[in-house]
Symmetry: C2
Subunit: 356 residues, 2 copies
Amino acid sequence: MSDKREEPVFMEGAVCPLPLGHDEQIVMGHGSGGKMSHELIGRIFLPPFDNDVLRAANDAGVVQAAPGARLAISTDSHVVTPLFFPGGDIGRLAVCGTVNDVAVMGAEPRYLTAGFILEEGLPQQTLARVVASMQAAAAEAGVVIVAGDTKVVEKGKADGLYINTSGVGVVPAGVELGGERARPGDVVLLSGPMGDHGIAVLAARGELGFEAAVESDVAPLNRLAAAALQAGDVRVMRDPTRGGVASTLNEIARQSGVAIVLDEAALPVRPAVAAACEMLGFDPLYIANEGRLLVIVGRDEVDAVLAAMRAAPYGTETVVVGEVRAEPARRVLLRTALGSLRIVDMLAGELLPRIC
Amino acid sequence: MSDKREEPVFMEGAVCPLPLGHDEQIVMGHGSGGKMSHELIGRIFLPPFDNDVLRAANDAGVVQAAPGARLAISTDSHVVTPLFFPGGDIGRLAVCGTVNDVAVMGAEPRYLTAGFILEEGLPQQTLARVVASMQAAAAEAGVVIVAGDTKVVEKGKADGLYINTSGVGVVPAGVELGGERARPGDVVLLSGPMGDHGIAVLAARGELGFEAAVESDVAPLNRLAAAALQAGDVRVMRDPTRGGVASTLNEIARQSGVAIVLDEAALPVRPAVAAACEMLGFDPLYIANEGRLLVIVGRDEVDAVLAAMRAAPYGTETVVVGEVRAEPARRVLLRTALGSLRIVDMLAGELLPRIC
């Protein structure tokens, strides 16, 4: 997930950022993907870096590199712990995360870079396993790794290894997507159950206190995204990673100035994930996914897009989960099983540190 | 500096990589930019990632993204310690390092991404200073930061902050540069004194044991590179970062299958750097630079390129330092003040960890 999408919060609450106190420090919550991340970005990163591309606040920056060559460019650093978890590892995560950020802009992901920060003492076998997994994911997504870099830091200055991947994709002519394009009447699709990645990583850490047969959903979504795009009038695509479906839809609601109403009964959650969340007091709406696609589409073309997504890789479980309304603008609401509406806010603090 | 350039070593010595022992670990020398880095890359990264772009082994991968849109793409993670040093900081280093890797391929650097790994407890003021420095360097280089990402790790799992920058540049039509293009008879130019960056960082760590009035040379070299390119028949450009001028020229000698002969008397070193190196037993040929350009040019156009570089930003101290010969192929030699020739090998172990 890229943090540049968060600008709407900055625009809203801190157009003139407050001066920093001398004693303010970075805390884990600043990496949550929720409110604290947005606040940090609005205060520290956006004022100096401000430009049109960042201001669009999407998962990848879209630029016109040459006549006929519109590019989507994205970056993600990966610090997940543990390095290996059911269904994936930091290498697959690093490739898929960046492929997906490029793909949700409607671009065809083409080129990846890979930057490694290695901790002294890391077994070379571990690194070799991660690199092989990256290559397998890259081959699956149809992207090539065109540049790399390796740095080593002393023992105790990292945690095994960290990987940055950056990606470049080509946006086909005529494709225009973005978080600001949702319109009242549009329909919200989700490509599969929520929270598999977060709970799988938590289980791998031994933090559940019980066995959970959950695998991470980490997957390259470029073919799924392309299928949706070809089938109908897609307004917005986004992969709900850190902060979960709730935080991602809040970002879109703010960017588009609309309300998004979710239907609780329609939201897919695997029983094992639901059970884990109930035990831990988590809401699956806030748990990270790494292979799920949110698609917002014009109502007339829902059936075509739904059918296309269900026929595409990683899309067989796609369902309609909600709709876009005009009011209350900039809000996400949940229609509960009892028929009442409750506000679904962005993730407030830190839920699961180092989930990606 | 990108590590992908190292493939020639792999091609030469380990076409069929040895299986990894179970007990082999990453050590600091694997990040040196010298022989150990090459060996690691040849063993772990290149076999799975192998493709035409990486195999070219230059500072940035060059790809044809669309008709009329040839891109140079590069990545660099930065882990320098301390974060601030005379003449620069990790932010300026991160921007310039990637701008330069793109520029030495003859490309016009356009777009950067910035991925931050922050250690819990980092003062926000420190981060703000680094970000402001990045923006100043980006503005100086004429590039925009189009995507960003922030992760936070627990105290003791990083060292303040690490920054990955990746860069995308557009290669003008007709420009063909690469480490494999040096030809016997060509001349080697260097844009200024060697070793300023490495010694400045060492001094900032208090590891010199004496005062040294040396500032890092860290600078964006894209305008200097463009000036050289416009002036004449440039074969190769490269910025001699980790591993220094010696390691960079060894890479080029191997890629092109030529000998490079340096003239010791012509190699520029500031007195303060020379004194520090003498005290510490270092050779300035192996000390990292972050604002120097090596240019290999056809003999007939040396004067024009030299004049153009001296008139360009960061190029006023450009000098001729050597020449390209046919034999002994794949070697760098130094013609000493006494007239004898000695072999200048690639950096063997680790000299200055976490210099960039």
